[in-house]
């Protein structure tokens, strides 16, 4: 992937996706009133993701490392128990992965695409990001509506 595509991907795929994930965590921890902080965290995480993807490390480890980075960033940004932070970032990444499974299944079947075609095209990556943002938005909406039940029954 050349650098132009990488930059476009960073702007229209990574940043919205990371910001949505970060806002989800803020909503889950009942910190949505600090949404600006959430967006800043999302941007920082997107930047680290962009840089991390450039590292020539073993295939498949990027995502794991990003998960750890995200956990430590949350630890810095949100003042809750470390164990809860790990669980919440697990949940964020699970939703992201689930979003990818659903969107890949729909798009591959509907438009007769291959995995490589999708991940190398900026257009499809933007579509993927939109889907992720939509999914996170839905989850945030549910959390806002049923905050008490979600937050208290599962984690606390």
């Amino acid at each position: 992937m050349n650098i132009d595509i990488r930059l476009l991907t960073f702007l229209f795929h990574t940043i919205p996706e990371c910001m949505a994930c970060s806002l989800f965590v803020f909503a889950y921890t009942d910190n949505l009133n600090h949404w600006k902080k959430g967006l800043a965290l999302g941007f920082l995480f997107a930047l680290i993701t962009f840089l991390m993807r450039l590292l020539p490390i073993i295939q498949g480890l990027h995502t794991l490392l990003l998960f750890f980075v995200f956990t430590f960033l949350l630890y810095i940004f949100i003042d809750i128990k470390f164990f809860s932070i790990v669980k919440i970032s697990f949940l964020g990444f699970l939703i992201m992965a689930l979003g990818e499974v659903i969107s890949f299944t729909i798009l591959i079947n509907s438009f007769d695409l291959t995995h490589d075609q999708m991940v190398n095209s900026v257009f499809w990556l933007i579509i993927l990001a939109l889907f992720q943002v939509f999914l996170f938005g839905m989850v945030i909406l549910v959390i806002i509506r049923k905050n008490k039940y979600f937050f208290n029954s599962i984690w606390e």
């Binding site: 498949g60 790990v86 669980k87 699970l94 890949f104």
Partner: protein, 354 residues
């Protein structure tokens, strides 16, 4: 001590999770080295290739999540947590060994897994301080350098990479290790300022109550004794010779009590001229012997001008209570009974002298 316990718990959680991440990364590298994905794809056929990656990602996080929940459940059990904290050194050595083995058997530079060296350095610096962190960094740096000199693998590691990476390792070790030691030192200073009575060098009132509650609540079937002492004629001494001389008496009494108190017990200045000794695992008879020793030693000690005192020389009276007494159900009752026994003894002394 709540703040100290909280800090300890937070730090141990941080170390535990860092170690968990390290182990997960090690497992991930082993899986990547074995390369089972291609083998699976061959078995399953190429039809699923497009769906395989996202599903694999999702499954991986799901499994990790479940494993983490299970580990958390085990860790939150006080018994297992204690074992984990006690064996922290062995866990660190195990992680260092595994990381060293993995990095050394992965002979191709493209994997870039030398970055794993930073995790043990980080945990060691947090748990064991600067010196051991530096030794760990030195171990890993020399490992990289040896790899470079011997030229292990398809091609040797870039020397610049080895130098820069070694510098990073030392920097991390130095920064986190120094910070951790500095924090330990500051906490030690604060602790002594918060818990120690400046005049006598014994524990202060606050620390006494906290320790007694802690010992009493965790005593199990063991007996806990409490000696409650009060200086005789100290008020008159103070009034006659002034508070500076009175302070010298208190200081000397503190020294005597500290000398006579066994190492596993806690002596404290309760307030004014009142002293207490917590004796975990001691019987009333043993407590009585300790009290009498202090009395005798104090009797031998001559304070300036005490022979001129009309009310008699400075002495000490003790009251003893034990958790084995039927009427005692709380640390507060332990103090109350010892206190009432002390005044009974004081009363009997007064009757004798009258």
């Amino acid at each position: 001590m709540t703040w100290k316990k909280n800090r300890h718990l937070k730090l141990s959680e941080f170390i535990f999770i860092t170690q968990f991440f390290t182990v997960v990364l090690i497992i991930a590298v082993i899986i990547a080295l074995l390369d089972p994905i291609d083998k699976l794809l061959v078995i399953a056929g190429n039809d699923i290739t497009d769906f395989f990656r996202p599903i694999l990602l999702f499954t991986m996080f799901l499994i990790l999540f479940v494993v983490f929940l299970l580990i958390e459940k085990v860790y939150k059990n006080a018994k297992y947590r204690k074992i984990f904290l006690m064996k922290s050194t062995y866990i660190n050595i195990f992680i260092i060994a595994i990381v060293a083995v993995i990095v050394n058997i992965t002979i191709e530079q493209k994997y870039f897994i030398e970055m794993f060296f930073i995790m043990p350095v980080l945990t060691i610096s947090l748990t064991h301080g600067l010196k051991l962190a530096m030794i760990t960094a030195l171990f890993f740096s020399s490992n990289l350098l040896l790899k470079n000199i011997l030229g292990i693998g398809d091609y040797s590691l870039d020397l610049y990479f080895v130098i820069i990476y070694s510098c990073i390792l030392f920097l991390v070790a130095w920064l986190t290790g120094s910070f951790s030691e500095q924090e330990k030192e500051t906490i030690g200073d604060l602790e002594s300022k918060v818990n120690i009575d400046e005049l006598t060098g014994l524990s202060n009132h606050r620390h006494f109550h906290e320790t007694l509650a802690d010992i009493y609540n965790n005593k199990g079937s063991n007996e806990v004794c409490l000696i409650y002492g009060d200086l005789d004629n100290f008020k008159y001494y103070n009034d006659t010779f002034g508070h500076t001389k009175g302070d010298q008496v208190l200081k000397k009494v503190g020294e005597i009590i500290a000398e006579e108190t066994p190492h596993d017990c806690i002596a404290a200045r309760y307030g004014g001229d009142e002293f207490t000794i917590i004796l975990p695992g001691y019987s009333v008879e043993q407590a009585d012997i300790i009290g009498n020793n202090i009395k005798h030693k104090l009797k031998e000690e001559k304070f300036l001008g005490e022979e001129q005192m009309l009310h008699g020389e400075i002495g000490i009276s003790f009251g003893i209570s034990s958790s084995s007494f039927n009427c005692i159900n709380s640390p507060l009752e332990l103090i109350e009974i010892a206190d009432s026994n002390l005044y009974r003894e004081k009363g009997s002394q007064l009757r004798v002298s009258n």
